[in-house]
Subunit: 274 residues, 2 copies
DNA sequence: CGTACGGCCTCCAGTAGGTGGAGAGTCAAC
DNA sequence: GTTGACTCTCCACCTACTGGAGGCCGTACG
């Protein structure tokens, strides 16, 4: 018979925990001194303690452990208990947790990447028209005819469908030559690594080329000023641009923080004829 | 200004939770009536509530949320806070959890598979010598010279190293022609899907062939009887066997339950010359 | 005028699996 | 006999809520 301290050293379970297990009926001492209340454990309890430790490492709830231990005792007499059922049920819930935390993990990574890119863009930026080569890319696109404010629904549909294949910033393709409030014709697009058209989302290769780009910092309703600046520059240099034009949302309202509109960053890109 | 009930409907946070958030200083009402104690929330609190909900969905602790919200308020004045640090730290702990639960998941699957196979073996078994073709297989093996009781260490070393690539029951290869107590020469082996030799564990292809096998039910110290039976059978049929012989542990003491030794199942296999 | 109802309040308890501490009793050795 | 190590019980604390009791306030109905 071991005192609680000795038994604690043998099983490497804290004394407090042993007392708690006694209270919960998970691991009862072999004998309790009626006078002093001292707990004493026989050697065969070591095996029980080992089993409990193993099951706890697998995150079994104490209640289940009690049941499983009871099953085990019955099983000694021959019949194969339904311990397996406990394990299968538990496996289910563990897989559930894996899914849950993986989902969170994925979302966090996305948020962090977004935030970091935005910070970099914030620092290395000059707000002047610059020429840049625009690569062709695979995109998922939803064509919308209506108001620009409806573009959010397009993006979230793409996000739901292709969430894990996204590989760049969302952007709009404008198919209207002039600004339209009510009946605009545009596409909400996201670059993706792979995928095929489905559920009204078109996946296609978007051609690149020689482009002129201007970064716009500030709220979206001030984009007009930047368009003006970019168009003026193109006219000055005698470039002719091709439709559609692109509006890339480098930093906008995040999925958690709306942020300060004065800090939103948008790049206007136009491909030019060579 | 909304009463707590109205605000609850807007934010889909239970009234109880709103009161709790007030108490914790996460989401304070705009105004509290001094007479009645009634809480009243202004419209701008809806956004705060949304952020809290989002962060809670990502399993952020309330304490962190308080800090993050404070950061956000400071950030309105311009400086980019260290919110990112919170996200990164949280990402770490979420990845930790994914690893943790994946590990549990893997172990549970293994236990369940083991248990199930053992049950099947238990039912379909005849305890007579039978001829069976033994396929060649890739194995991880640790050679041990000493006592048979040391084989457990070999298995656990292999388990740690190749845990996720295991694809069959553990077995021993006996290199001694006769039984030795003290100075036995044997290998602890596990079939694996892939891998290369390292850390004193040899990975190699183990040849198959025509074999004779006998199932043994009961504790290991009674294996001698089954060896006797198998050898008698071989002599009777004028077979000549080749070394090493194999002892496959179909059901033994599990990693959780030691189980009843009377129910242990071991298959003795010997390859014969043709 | 009395009361039933809905909304709101505070305070207390409980969840899972322990951990930490206070204050008091017990054991074995010197 | 005393010291120091050991053990006991009881209570509080952790997270993020949830549930319930008992009570206040204003309004509608009989």
């Amino acid at each position: 018979m071991f005192s609680i301290g000795e038994f604690s050293k043998i099983t490497s379970l804290p004394v407090k925990t042993l007392r708690f297990y006694h209270e919960q009926g998970v691991l009862e001492p072999t004998h309790v001194d009626v006078q002093t209340g001292y707990r004493y454990y026989a050697a065969n309890k070591i095996e029980t303690a080992r089993i409990i430790t193993q099951l706890r490492k697998l995150d079994f709830p104490l209640g289940d452990i009690v049941d499983i231990l009871r099953c085990r005792e019955e099983e000694e007499e021959g019949e194969d208990g339904d311990i397996l059922a406990y394990f299968e049920r538990h496996l289910q819930s563990m897989q559930e947790k894996v899914r849950h935390y993986r989902e969170i993990d994925r979302t966090l990574q996305q948020i962090i990447a977004e935030q970091r890119e935005a910070q970099v863009a914030m620092k290395t930026t000059s707000y002047e028209v610059e020429e840049k080569a625009i690569d062709s890319m695979l995109i998922a696109a939803v064509r919308i005819k209506g108001r620009y404010s409806d573009c959010g629904q397009g993006f979230s549909r793409i996000g739901r469908q292709f969430g894990r294949y996204l590989c760049g910033k969302p952007f709009l393709l404008h198919h209207d030559a002039e600004y339209k409030e009510e009946d605009a014709d545009f596409e909400a697009c996201m670059p993706i690594r792979q995928g095929t058209s489905k559920n009204g989302i078109e996946v296609r290769e978007l051609a690149g080329g020689r482009g002129m780009a201007l970064l716009h910092q500030g709220p979206y309703d001030e984009l007009g000023r930047s368009y003006e600046k970019l168009l003026a520059h193109l006219k000055e240099q005698a470039f002719e641009f091709v439709m559609p034009t692109r509006e890339v949302y480098l930093k906008g309202p995040g999925m958690i923080f709306k942020g300060n509109p004065r800090k939103y960053l948008t790049e206007i890109q136009m491909l030019v004829k060579e």
